[in-house]
Structure formats: structure tokens, C-alpha cells
Amino acid sequence: MVKFENLFGNLAWIGLVALALFSIVILVQGDNNASQPLINDALFNSSFGGLNDTIGALEGVSSTQYSTFSSEKPKTGFGSIVLFTIVSAGKTFSNVIFAIFTIVIKLPLVVLGIDPTITAMIVSLLTITVIISLWIVYKFGG
């Protein structure tokens, strides 16, 4: 079973690579006065804006979750130490996973005309993977 940090890491890398691709196009076309700049395309523009906002907000999200986590006083449980903030961190970062996936898949979905059933299947697979990996994090701490 995939680890939650690996799943999040992979999605974050996908988001970062997609953002880099978007940025390369915008910068290169902007600097060279392209006659049909892609930034004028509504779908491209909205995907870039959404991805930029989501990845840009990651620093703030991570910082908030870290402060919450570090400020919690650990309680002793049955043969373990209980930290409830891991649940909040798990929820927040799983939302980020879905946000990145939804934004990145939007453009190929519309442009290539991928059937929504395929996306629904991928999303359901991703959901199950996220739930199980989160449960492992909650139960065993990683």
C-alpha cells in the first residue's frame, strides 16, 4: 500500500511540473511577442491560475499544520502516544491532493475530450488510496 507522504509527494511534483510547463509557455510566448499567446485561452488561463493559487497556498497550509502539530501536548494512549492534530493535517493535505489533481486533469479532460467516466474511475481510485493511506498514518503514524 502506498504511503501517504509518497502519494502527496507525487501529486505535489505533478502540480509543480504542470506549473513549470504553464510558466514556460507564458514566459516564452510573452517575451517573444507570440501572435497567438496561450494566456488568452480561457481554459489555459483558469487552469494556470488555479494551480498557481493551490501550490502558492501550500506554504501557508504547511506552516499552519506544523504550528498546530507542534503546539499539541501528546497524550499517552494504550501502548502509544496520541496526537489528534495528525487527523487535521491528514484532512488538509488530502484536500490539497484532490485540489491539485482536479486542476491538473481539467485541461486534458476538456482538450482531449477524455470521457468523464475515466476521470470518475481515477478519482474513486485516488479516494480509496488516500483514505487507506491516511488510515495507516492515523493508526501507525506513517
Binding site: N10, V28, Q29, N32, A34, L38, P108, V111
Partner: protein, 110 residues
């Protein structure tokens, strides 16, 4: 279609490169797809010949899609005297979407 019949009035390299688009709109998309497939197969076979490397077609697809994407980006900058680019924006969007899909598959497979 009239401009398709003769090579007259081509005054620059840009004009010459945009000229096939007038005959067949998806000309450069087709060329880039051929480059993509050829590069993928070259990379994959080279990996297969290397005894220390583990051949992986998905990574070959990922690398080739990046190369194709860069070529297409350059293509959007080349334009003729009328300002028509070599790679039109909707053709470029196809290439961009395919690149993103292959990147996703590549990273998910990791």
C-alpha cells in the same frame, strides 16, 4: 487552399514553415507526433540495450513528450508575414494536454 498550390510569395523562413499549415491544418501536429513516437522508441531501445538500466516505456514517453512540448513551444513563436504561427494555439493545447497526461502517468507510476 490557393496558397497550397505554389511556393510563390514565400519571403522568409517563417513563411516557408507556416506554408504547409495552409494545405493541411494539422501538418505540424502530425510531424510532432511522429517525432514523439520515434524518440520514445529510440529512448526505450537504448535503455533496453543498456544492461544496467531497467527499460521503462512510460519514462520514455514522459521524456519524449517534454521534448515535443519544447519543440511545439518554439513552433508557436515562428510566424509568417501575416502573423500566423507555425503551431496554432489549439494544436499546441493538444500537445500541452498530452504532455501533462504523460507527466501524470509517469509520476504516478513512481
Amino acid at each position: 487552399m490557393a496558397m497550397c498550390n505554389s511556393l510563390t510569395g514565400l519571403t522568409s523562413v517563417g513563411d516557408f514553415l507556416v506554408w504547409p499549415t495552409g494545405c493541411f491544418y494539422y501538418f505540424w501536429l502530425l510531424v510532432l507526433v511522429v517525432i514523439f513516437i520515434t524518440l520514445t522508441l529510440i529512448l526505450y531501445n537504448r535503455e533496453k540495450e543498456d544492461l544496467q538500466a531497467k527499460p521503462d516505456i512510460i519514462s520514455s514517453f514522459g521524456v519524449s513528450s517534454l521534448v515535443t512540448f519544447i519543440l511545439a513551444t518554439i513552433g508557436t513563436l515562428i510566424q509568417n508575414a501575416d502573423g500566423i504561427p507555425m503551431v496554432q494555439s489549439d494544436v499546441f493545447l493538444y500537445i500541452f494536454a498530452v504532455t501533462v497526461v504523460f507527466m501524470m502517468i509517469w509520476f504516478f507510476k513512481k
